[in-house]
């Protein structure tokens, strides 16, 4: 895939009044790529999409399609079609009129519009619904009409603004795959805004994670999941367990000092730019392995914490434990249930433990301060 040249954003910024919504967005998207813009609400992802669509102009930077500057072009001159979160179907028009409106605006003959609308309907499984008004459609059907309306004008780039968020959970799962299959079949470039991590993982070739108007990380789903570039990305991608440890790099290893819940150990550095001092350690509940406290857990490189089970629940598939490590609580999954009150060892393999230097965290967290005092004493 040609990485640069198709859709490019260079130093794009946007402000709303005095609020800086987007800062310094550099993004290059290849033709036929499916990119998910992922972030929590208010991170600027919808603003970025609306900026691409041409509804708002950036305060700085430029947007290019095939090396052509489209930054200040009107929405319809960019070869992009937007699918709205609310679908934004026109309630006074039938399904066929909704899908065919873009073609009508282009001055295409009635017979051709009818033919293309019919083709779009059968592509999307909307046959026989052409005379219905949007109010008489189910949520999934409305969503497909909105998609058909956008695809009917044959856009080069499809912009999707949380198009699945108004669907039932069950329908959403199938629509994800349908939408992705359709995008592949048509070879269309798609930019999909979502706050749903799993949706982004399942659908996208590349995930762009936005935080406070900046790109926090971009990469393949495996990349952002397994190699988060910052504590924010790690937390956003599900590594919600957080502990503060102390350590220092030693060659290609990172030596972690003993703390209230862990013994001293050493982890491969894996090229991470970690400085000596306090580190923020994050891991996913499913990455942890639980053992009875007296079992010595030494399975490959990793770190072992010792603590006590505070609560246990069954969300399905595995048992989820809340474990008290000193005055911190973490969550860890296991195939069998440990009784509350049981002493356990929590083993986190090195590759699943995300470490980030956190100079400011040292003073904020009491658990990381206590061991540092011990180490230096």
């Amino acid at each position: 895939m040609e990485r640069d040249g198709f859709l490019e954003l260079r130093g794009v910024a946007s402000r709303y009044g005095a609020t800086q919504v987007l800062t310094d967005i550099d993004l290059s998207i290849a033709k036929g790529e499916f990119v998910a813009l992922l972030g929590s609400s208010g991170c600027g992802k919808t603003t970025l999409l609306r900026l691409l669509a041409g509804f708002i102009s950036p305060s700085a930077g430029e947007v290019k399609v095939r090396h052509r500057d489209v930054t200040y072009l009107p929405p319809d001159k960019r070869g992009m079609a937007l699918v709205f979160q609310s679908y934004a179907l026109w309630p006074h028009m039938t399904v066929a009129q909704n899908i065919g409106y873009g073609l009508k605006l282009k001055g295409i003959s009635r017979t051709e519009i009818a033919a293309r609308v019919a083709a779009m309907q059968s592509l999307l499984g909307l046959d026989g619904l052409e005379a219905r008004k949007p109010q008489a459609l189910s949520g999934g059907q409305r969503q497909r009409v909105a998609l058909g309306r956008a695809l009917a004008i044959d856009p080069e780039i499809l912009l999707l603004d949380e198009p699945l968020s108004n669907l039932d959970a069950r329908i959403r799962l199938t629509v994800r795959h349908e939408l992705r299959a359709l995008q592949k079949r048509l070879g269309i470039t798609a930019i999909h805004v979502t706050h749903d991590r799993e949706e982004a993982m399942v659908m996208a070739d590349r995930i762009v994670i936005l935080n406070a108007g900046r790109i926090a990380q971009q990469g393949t789903p495996e990349d952002v999941y397994n190699r988060p570039a910052s504590a924010f990305v790690a937390a956003f991608m599900g590594a919600e367990n957080v502990l503060f440890l102390n350590g220092a790099p030693q060659g290609d290893q990172f030596a972690i000092a003993a703390g209230p819940a862990n013994a001293a150990c050493s982890l491969p550095l894996l090229g991470r730019p970690l400085a000596a001092g306090s580190v923020e350690a994050r891991f996913r509940p499913e990455a942890a392995r639980l053992f009875p406290a007296d079992d010595i857990a030494a399975i490959g490189p990793g770190i072992t914490f010792r603590g006590e089970v505070a609560a246990v629940s069954y969300p399905g598939g595995h048992w989820r434990h809340v474990i008290k490590l000193g005055d911190h609580e973490i969550m860890a999954d296991a195939d069998r249930a440990f009784e509350p009150g049981a002493r356990v060892a929590v083993f986190v393999p090195a590759e699943a433990l995300f470490l980030f230097s956190s100079p400011e965290a040292a003073s904020a967290s009491p658990t990381s301060r206590a061991p540092s005092g011990k180490v230096h004493a």
Partner: protein, 283 residues
């Protein structure tokens, strides 16, 4: 044993409810429905006996005025519709924030001015030597010889449009403001021009509100006496002026009632169009 209805309430409680609405019902019945029925009956009474006499006389004398009234009110309604769509459309789609703010502040004013004052203002403005013609003459656009008075049907239409547009525009602009903005942006995304956005996307979505506003305006204009009296005190004139004339000059309540009933039928026919449209929409 008292009979207890299925909902568990005893009968006296029901009567108490009825008693509570009785004053309101009585007011409506005696001050509104009864006079209306008496007027309607009066239209068919000629010197104590029932007959079509009043209507024959009405159509002999006032057919021209009936047509005049219908034409003026219909034309005004159309113009009010166009003007309020234009105002509402600019408030919704206008991109110049200052112009939108000025229009928003300005357009409502005529709503607070009574019809009689509107008539008076326009009388001095539209007459042969009025402010409008004077301005044109001073600007060199018109010679004093070519100046004509607008104090005829045109004056009435101007007065009605001037007075009623803000009311309809208020309703229409409110409805336009509450439609889903995404539906407008979706059309913009596909390349719809500003005019197409207004006529094909925005107006159809507020059609019902627009219709209600125009029907209320139609009925209001049918009942205005002061404007035709102030601006067009000649023949043909509007039905309201005729009714006042029959009552005040001749004490002829029979013909006045017949004229009133005709006005009522005209107003009701418009309301009927609305009812049909709203039923169709719900179906």
């Amino acid at each position: 044993m008292p009979i207890i209805p299925p909902n568990g309430r005893t009968m006296p409680k029901r009567f108490l409810g009825l008693l509570l609405v009785l004053p309101a019902l009585a007011v409506i019945a005696f001050l509104f429905i009864l006079p209306l029925i008496m007027s309607a009956v009066g239209a068919f009474q000629v010197e104590g006996t029932f007959g079509w006499g009043n209507f024959t006389k009405t159509f002999d004398l006032y057919t021209k005025d009936i047509i005049f009234t219908v034409m003026i009110v219909s034309l005004s309604t159309v113009l009010i519709g166009i003007a309020s769509i234009a105002i509402g459309g600019y408030l919704t789609l206008g991109e110049h924030p200052v112009a939108v703010a000025i229009l928003r502040w300005l357009y409502r004013w005529p709503m607070f001015i009574p019809f009689i004052v509107v008539g008076q203002i326009l009388r001095t403005f539209l007459s042969k030597n009025g402010m409008m013609n004077n301005t044109f003459i001073n600007l060199g656009l018109l010679t004093p010889l070519d100046a004509v008075s607008f104090l005829d049907w045109r004056g009435i239409v101007i007065a009605f449009v001037w007075k009623q547009t803000p009311f309809v525009a208020l309703l229409v602009a409110g409805a336009m403001a509450s439609i889903n903005r995404d539906t407008i942006e979706a059309a913009r995304n596909l390349g719809a021009s500003r005019l197409r956005l207004l006529l094909e996307i925005v107006v159809p979505q507020v059609a019902m509100t627009l219709t209600v506003g125009l029907i209320l305006s139609f009925v209001t204009m049918m009942s205005v006496l002061s404007v035709p009296l102030m601006i067009n005190a000649q023949s043909p004139t509007m039905l309201t002026a005729d009714i006042a004339f029959r009552v005040n000059s001749y004490g002829d309540y029979g013909v006045a009632n017949a004229l009133g009933l005709i006005s009522l039928v005209l107003a009701a026919s418009v309301a009927w169009i609305y009812l049909r449209a709203s039923l169709k929409e719900r179906a």
